[in-house]
């Protein structure tokens, strides 16, 4: 009887004691909310070391517990480390959050920023170049379309004007002279502005592409007309005479004898013009056309990555180089009838 009583007393004492100890322990550990508030106050006061220490004291939540305070604390710590450029620690804070809450967007965001900050500039730039290469190439496609259409249209119009200028068809000739005077004598940029921004005021609104083709086409036709005229006039006068002597009309002689002989002589100066054209297409970026220059400009403004500009330059160089080589080959082929 005595023994049973003493055992129960002991048990009661133990239970009470343990209860006491538990309450004592919880009283010794301060409330996490209070720690967070305190740490935040330190942070705002500028005592970042103390703030960091406190933020990191807040333990991960136990099973079933709310993790809000923990996440806030680690996030603030991560940001402080980030600002101090202590990227490894900043990343460690995010990792702690993500270990428990893998879907946490904010931690993920900061972590990727940390990773970006950790990679050296040149590596980031290279990555940008890889990322934006498809965009630049797509835009180069538009540049090429502009170049090819102008290359197709302007020699035809140019030849027509050149023949008109040479044939001394009075009024026609002065009209062509005026045309060449205007389009060779004013900046292409101004012509593009006039066509795209100016003509709508006169009731003619053009799509950017149409305006670009019109501007480039009119401008380059004027230049090519003068080049073609020079080439035709450089052909020996004896050619026209001998063509006439076998009974050809002026236009038959032009078509069969004179103009075909200009082809080889035209390749170097016309090739020059077309290479200038490739670069001049950059001007249409000012009239809402998205081509290589415009795309490069947009990406550069978003990334401030100088390599994007270099990359665009390389694409331009590639295009001009291909043209240079092709014209060289063409010149050789057109010159088969000449003694070397």
């Amino acid at each position: 009887m005595e023994v049973r009583r003493s055992v129960s007393v002991l048990l009661c004492t133990l239970a009470f004691f343990s209860l006491f100890l538990t309450s004592l322990a919880s009283a010794a550990e301060p409330d996490t909310y209070e720690v967070l508030a305190l740490a935040t106050r330190y942070m705002h006061d500028g005592n970042l070391d103390k703030a960091l220490e406190l933020f990191q004291k807040i333990p991960p939540p136990g099973k079933g517990e709310d993790g809000g305070v923990f996440v806030r604390a680690r996030m603030e710590a991560s940001k402080i480390y980030f600002i101090r450029k202590e990227y490894a620690d900043s990343a460690r804070m995010c990792d702690e959050i993500l270990a428990i809450f893998p879907d946490n967007l904010e931690a993920g965001n900061i972590l990727s920023q940390v990773r970006a900050a950790q990679t050296p500039n040149w590596l980031r730039f290279l990555k940008d170049m890889k990322t934006y290469l498809p965009t630049l190439l797509k835009a180069s496609g538009m540049t090429l379309v502009l170049v090819l259409v102008t290359m197709l249209v302007s020699p035809i119009i140019g030849l027509f004007i050149a023949l008109g200028r040479i044939s001394r068809a009075g009024e026609l000739s002065s009209v062509f002279w005026f045309y060449i005077w205007i389009f060779r004598g004013t900046p292409l940029l101004l012509q593009l502005f006039f066509i795209y921004y100016g003509l709508p005021q006169l009731g003619l609104t053009l799509k950017p592409f149409t305006a670009a083709i019109l501007g480039l086409g009119l401008n380059y036709s004027a230049y090519l007309a003068e080049i073609i005229r020079g080439a035709i006039e450089s052909i020996d006068a004896g050619q026209m005479e001998s063509a006439k002597a076998i009974g050809m009309t002026y236009w038959q002689a032009m078509r069969r004898i004179i103009v075909p002989q200009t082809y080889k002589r035209l390749v170097p100066p016309v090739g020059n013009e077309f290479i200038a054209l490739i670069k001049d297409t950059a001007l249409v970026s000012t009239i809402a056309m998205v081509e290589l220059m415009r795309a490069a400009d947009q990406i550069f403004n978003a990334t401030f990555n100088i390599f994007i500009l270099i990359q665009a330059a390389l694409i331009y160089l590639l295009m001009t180089s291909i043209f240079t080589i092709s014209f060289r080959k063409l010149e050789d082929r057109l010159g088969v009838y000449e003694a070397r």
Partner: protein, 252 residues
Amino acid sequence: MIEIRDAGKRYGNLVAVDHVNLKITKGEKIVIIGPSGSGKTTLLRMINFLETMDSGRILLEGTDVGYGRDKKGRPVLDRPEVICKLRSEIGMVFQHFHLFPHMTALENVMEGPLTVKKKSRKDAKAISMDLLGKVGLLDKKDVYPAFLSGGQKQRVAIARALAMSPKIMLFDEPTSALDPELVGEVFNTIKDLAEEGMTMIIVTHQMGFAKELGDRVIFMDNGYFIFEGRPKEVFSNRMDNPRVKAFLAKVL
């Protein structure tokens, strides 16, 4: 066949051709000689309208051709179509050949029949191959002029003119631009043509043409005919015109 009456041409104050009369009968070979700047070439070029006359008439088979008249009666060149038609019947060979450099020898010869006469490629080629054979250059048919010698070029040029089946051939110093050793081949080609009965006018400094081919030799100076006669008369010791004598003394 062709007659030039009272033809005149001046460049500013310089009288190039001074009221010249010339009548050519079918099959006749006329050789015009004389110093440089005497108007020989200008006269020749007038006949196929590469030079226009300031005065005078050109008659073909007795009818006026190539010119209309303005109010003062001066000659005005006819419409281009008419002139082209006339030219297509007159062959011309130039001192400097003027072959079309972007065409092969064969293509040069074919060009007239093809473009002017609108013949089919097949027909034009047949005619041209025949003519290239005649001037002895069939093996060079696919060669561009730049790769031919001067003599070969001139023979292609002769074939090119013949391809239009002209009624008369005009030769403007055909051997003057040739190296001496190449003169022979061109001379022989023209001689063959003459022996076939082609009507021709040859302007030349090569006295061989006058001696061997000429039915009539004309000595021209200062824009008009100073002497006109048979080769024998010109090159005989009895020649008494002092200017002709002086000229011949220099060139022979």
